[in-house]
Amino acid sequence: MARSNGATSLGDILERVLDRGLVIAGDIRVNLLDIELLTIKLRLLVASVDTARELGIDWWESDPWLHSGRRPQELEKENRELRRQLAEMERTAESRVAAIGQGHDRGASSPSVEEPDE
């Protein structure tokens, strides 16, 4: 078996089960996201949670009424701000993914080789 490492990588599995395989409607409607978009979104989610934590915003980790003693309006405000930041990061990521997707067609006119330091 010619696997690149000992265990099969999750990325290799996800790109197959999410993006390939026979596509049929089934009875339950599902809108599977493009794997790159899904993975980026998940990474963004993790990144924004870590960043927020560093800033001392951790209301989701324990009971917000007890932990930080903040009033509900403040928590709601932080919540809205976090969501706004996440939406912005997602928009940036989506446009990058779109650029990757458009740039990959064969032919030398728009090569899609990624910069290694991006």
Partner: protein, 265 residues
């Protein structure tokens, strides 16, 4: 109303079907069972609609831990079936409300399924990814400072030649990818080029230039791997994964069902 959905993994042909063997365990530990429709067999297991119903499924798909468990369980079943007999893998999260609905699907797509099973018989999928950073190998142009040029002109000329070098590097990298693909297509029965994955997803410093899958006849397996080995050269890293169940070769586009090479949309 039933709280269970019928999760579909794959389809193969009876009587030489892939069900002969120990019972497989599917998602959530449920046993995989068969739904037969004349000479085709669908592999299914029960899943709770609390997780796999439309609303909760949308949310769960955004939960990487949940997704990983489901994806691995799905793939484990598909791979086990594929090792036993030619098998058409189904995409993740295809769920029906009853065995009757599964049979209806199989009946309705019978000729497509038979065509696919014929295409897959005696063949295996291999994944090939290539990474290449041609730029690193060539010395970038530098200013020699000895010409009589003014500094500004020299700077602009240098910048232009670096941009040309970058552009040429990209073209060279893609040429290498095209070459790898065309060599492997000579040996494989079919090939598919998939979308490249950007650097931020691959955790590699070197750009991916090829993301492909090849359907290879078992008799040609050794030749295929020898060809990959021969294609390796400094500056080009080729990673092979497999054997896989034939996820990349069960597409049903309009037109010729048996193309030698298809670039996916």
């Amino acid at each position: 109303m039933s709280e269970l959905g019928i999760y579909l993994y794959a389809i193969s042909a009876a009587p030489h079907h892939a069900g002969a063997g120990p019972t497989l365990t599917g998602i959530g530990g449920s046993p995989v069972c068969t739904v037969t429709e004349s000479d085709l067999v669908a592999y299914v297991s029960d899943v709770p609609l609390a997780e796999f119903g439309e609303e909760s499924l949308r949310e769960r798909l955004e939960d990487l831990a949940w997704l990983e468990d489901v994806a691995r369980a799905h793939n484990d079943v598909v791979e086990a079936l594929s090792r036993r007999a030619p098998t058409v893998p189904v995409r993740l999260a295809t769920i029906y409300h009853s065995h009757g609905h599964v049979r209806r699907f199989v009946r309705g797509r019978r000729s497509d399924l038979e065509m696919l099973l014929k295409r897959l018989t005696g063949r295996t999928e291999w994944g090939v990814k290539a990474y290449s950073d041609v730029r690193r190998e060539s010395t970038p142009p530098t200013a020699d400072g000895t010409s009589g040029e003014r500094p500004g002109t020299a700077y602009l000329r240098l910048r232009q030649s670096r941009l040309h070098a970058d552009e040429e590097s990209r073209r060279e990298a893609l040429r290498r990818a095209d070459r790898i693909h065309s060599v492997l297509l000579e040996i494989a029965v079919h090939g598919r080029r998939h979308r490249l994955q950007g650097a931020q997803l691959t955790d590699r410093k070197v750009p991916m230039v090829l993301n492909a899958a090849y359907l290879v006849d078992e008799k040609a397996r050794a030749d295929f791997h020898a060809a990959v080995a021969a294609l390796r050269e400094p500056g080009v890293e080729i990673e092979v994964t497999g054997p896989w169940a034939p996820y990349s070769f069960v597409d049903l586009g309009a037109g010729d069902p048996d193309p030698a090479d298809v670039v996916p949309a």
